[in-house]
């Protein structure tokens, strides 16, 4: 999915029929459809969580869909994406099938990670989606390692590493930016600045804005409106090409906003941000609504088409839900599989003296 999107853009198209900002009608509809899919998927997850089909922590990406689509859509399938625990829609954007992602959230056998990872640990190595990491900032050195491997093998892939605004305060970013800079690795550090880390406004834990925090490493820094898919996509498309061509590491702030609570167990608003603030953002900065209105205005979308698209993605999500529901729980034996890739011929690896 992702890579076709990356390819089909008709650069040539111009004039009134060209569409918008150099994107043709088909592409624009695909953008809308993708973001609607992410939105409906997360709503389904929310629903499933409420009735206990999903357990543990579950972090929704609602409100940040354009960041997932804009930074991942332009990539090739063989490019790498790595992120934190807020990983569902980014997985979808990288082309991971909705069914296996939802099945993972349900902790089922057919989940992408066999039900062992759960919501925070979605992995699909085939698709270049390298997870799903739960320790804030821990994915950053991993991304540098993938960038290192790309350079080591002289490939032209890129690695996109997502991190939250609060993760900027982890030493891991500092060490990673420096290593990426000295070895000129093809890594794009994307700070998804949704203004809060859980319940803490970034402005309370940093003396300077996110963008400025990227200075001091010799890495170019950029900031983009992460709620505007067209701006984001265009920017990323060019940036990725630059990195592919040996441009070295990049640091990008994607300005966005989280419409839901930090995780399913957290309130949408509270002491740390007002209901009005959230409602206001939903009003003015919903990436889907923004694109929709643009398309209406430019008469590139009709109400019927919109409803059709929505029907389509709802069908996809319902199918995914059925897939997840139909998938059994992992076999009990799975408890001891995948702890090690190699069970050595000699000696004992498991010391719990349980029978298995």
């Amino acid at each position: 999915m992702a890579e076709t999107m990356a390819e089909t853009r008709k650069k040539g198209a111009e004039g009134p029929d060209a569409g918008l900002d150099g994107f043709d009608r088909e592409q624009l509809h695909r953008f809308l459809r993708e973001m609607l899919l992410y939105r409906r998927f997360e709503e389904k997850a929310e629903e499933a969580y409420a009735i206990g089909k999903i357990g543990g922590f579950c972090h929704l990406h609602i409100g940040q869909e354009a960041v997932a689509l804009g930074f991942i859509g332009p990539l090739r399938e063989d490019d790498y994406v790595i992120t934190a625990y807020r990983d569902h829609t980014q997985a979808l954007a990288k082309g991971v099938e909705p069914g296996p992602v939802l099945a993972e959230l349900y902790g089922r056998k057919d989940g992408v990670s066999g039900g062992k990872g759960g919501s925070m640990h979605v992995f699909d190595v085939e698709k270049g989606f390298m997870g799903g990491h739960g320790i804030v900032g821990a994915q950053i050195p991993l991304a540098v390692g993938m960038g290192w491997a790309i350079r080591y093998r002289e490939e032209d892939r890129v690695c996109v590493c997502f991190l939250g605004d609060a993760a900027v305060n982890q030493g891991a970013l500092h060490e990673s930016m420096n290593m990426a800079a000295i070895w000129e690795l093809p890594v794009i550090f994307v700070v998804e600045n949704n203004e809060y880390g859980m319940g803490t406004a970034f402005s309370r834990v940093s003396a300077v804005p996110v963008l400025e925090r990227g200075e001091g490493y010799g890495i170019p820094t950029h900031s983009v409106d992460g709620q505007n898919i067209l701006e984001t996509w265009t920017f990323v498309e060019e940036l990725v090409q630059e990195v592919r061509d040996g441009g070295g590491p990049q640091y990008v702030e994607a300005r966005t906003y989280r419409f839901k609570g930090h995780s399913m167990s957290d309130p949408v608003s509270g002491t740390y941000r007002s209901k009005d603030e959230v409602e206001g953002k939903k009003e003015e900065a919903d990436p889907i609504a923004l694109l929709r209105e643009k398309l209406f205005e430019a008469e590139l979308l009709t109400q019927e088409e919109l409803e059709e698209l929505d029907e389509e993605v709802r069908a996809v999500v319902d199918e995914a839900a059925d897939f997840a529901d139909d998938s059994p729980f992992p076999e009990p034996e799975e408890l001891y599989t995948h702890v090690y890739s190699e069970i050595n011929e000699h000696g004992r690896l498991f010391l719990d003296s349980r029978d298995r």
Binding site: G118, Q170, G199, T271, D352, R354
Partner: protein, 329 residues
Amino acid sequence: MPVITYREALNQALAEEMERDDTVFLMGEEVAEYDGAYKVSKGLLERFGDRRVVDSPISELGFAGLGVGAAMVGLRPVIEFMTFNFAFLALDQVINSAAKMHYMSGGQLSLPMVFRGPSGAALQLSAQHSQAAETWYVHAPGVKLVTPGTPADAKGLLKAAIRDEDPVAFMEGELLYNVKGEVPDPEEGDFVIPLGVADVKRKGADVSIITHGKMVHVALQAAGKLEKEDVDVEVLDLRSLRPLDVDAILETVRKTNRVVYLEEGWPYAGIGAQIVSLIQEEAFDYLDAPVIRVTQADVPMPYAKNLEQAAKPDAARVIQACNRVLYRD
């Protein structure tokens, strides 16, 4: 006695110690405006202000080190880790700074501070968020380690930990915060439980389950079921792992001659390994059967509900173990 939750007990302990001593302050992620990720510090910001209840950036190594530095010059920091799973990032400051500075400075510096937060598994939080951290904090000398399993112990021991002159790792549990229990009324005076005193949570004669932390409840559950089979189980809660109440351990061994060690964490070099090793060194002749350990399966914690249940130690496994040391199987 008033019945309150483990969470409220910790909150009381923090409030009382901060009230008593201005050098005590609480720092950690979300502890102030958010009242704590698990609401342990509810209301403390309002009561003590942002000088003493401080939201930190997500910089575990940094703010753990900040706490050590503040303790070096006489403050009494209480550093909250949202969970100990995230504290691997801070371990260098615990092991190389906090645990060693008193010694390296020839006794010039004392580090009266507490590192606290939940440790171990909750429900379906998966591999990175479900680790019992005891071993990593107890192996190196210089840090003390406390693991309360009940509201009363949580309050009395946290107050003692805050007053202790040394760094104390204080491990709680997400699944414990809502547990209710009797805790002496603050009006009746200062309630402090000294470190290093184990507690017999249930008297028994046939077999001893020695445990610590949240597993105390699993042990009592198992004991209850075994009682129906006329097996009289003693449950010894170590409460504090360093200092370790060796006398209480030896006493219950001499009494029942049969021991099961129950812990939430992994077996390899776990707390149980130490206790078993200590028992056979110091009470070898009192053992009528080898001590059996009940631990988490020796695998990372899986997310899937059924696998997670299978991975965790439970009453059934404890009962099985008791039967084995009693040669009842």
